[in-house]
């Protein structure tokens, strides 16, 4: 019952073909890294985008996160390229 909200930004949003989705995670998907693997298995477009892990960043509940950051029910997880504001 681990429902999470997933957000995509910039070219990751374009590759995913969507800006956000709500998904229920299986029990073994408990980190950002595991979530990326699981999302990639469900969607080849995301698998391809996530293959460039060096240039994919994540945030959990609006804080920058790493592959090891835990993901739990109710979290908002965002994926995006390195930021280019300013």
């Amino acid at each position: 019952m681990a429902e999470v909200r997933i957000l995509y930004f910039a070219w990751l949003r374009e590759r995913a073909g969507r800006g956000e989705e709500a998904l229920t995670l299986p029990p073994d998907v408990a980190t950002v890294g595991a979530l990326m693997d699981w999302l990639g298995r469900r969607d080849p477009a995301l698998a391809e985008a996530f293959a460039m892990r060096r240039v994919v960043r994540a945030a959990v509940n609006q804080n920058f996160a790493s592959a090891e950051t835990p993901v739990a029910a109710g979290d908002e997880v965002a994926f995006f390229p390195p930021v280019t504001g300013g």
Binding site: L7, F9, A10, W11, R13, A59, Q62, F64, E76, A78, F80, P81, P82, V83, T84, G85, G86
Partner: protein, 152 residues
Amino acid sequence: MGTVRVQPEDFSPGAEFDALLARAPGAGGLGSFIGVVRSNAAQPIVAMTLEHYPAMTVAAIASIVGAAETRFDLLGCTVIHRFGRLLPGDRIVFVAAAAAHRRAALDATSFLIDWLKTKAPFWKREEMADGTARWVEAAAQDAQEADRWNMG
């Protein structure tokens, strides 16, 4: 103490200076940086669209402002970042810092813009004259310039 705004509208640097100075009595110096949509003659762009992560943006900038206030002896600072579609010559970002002395004001200004470039969730998409568009890639140099503040 810091003022943070994220908005599609333009801003008035003069009005922001006046407001910052009014909030910072005792200031001896104000440093500032204004970022502008740049178009070079070799590869002219028609427009630039700034996408951001609304739920995160203000909090991320407030955290950068907090770091600057801790690190420098600031009497006040202002960060305004626009999003949406902008044209060449349009202002994108305004950063200003007020302090008793000029070194703190200028160093804090550099710190704020360097960290904004690497820690605020904005992404730039450029529309070229030939109809194509491309997402601007993060410059390795930006990460280096932000990193130099970790060595102090």
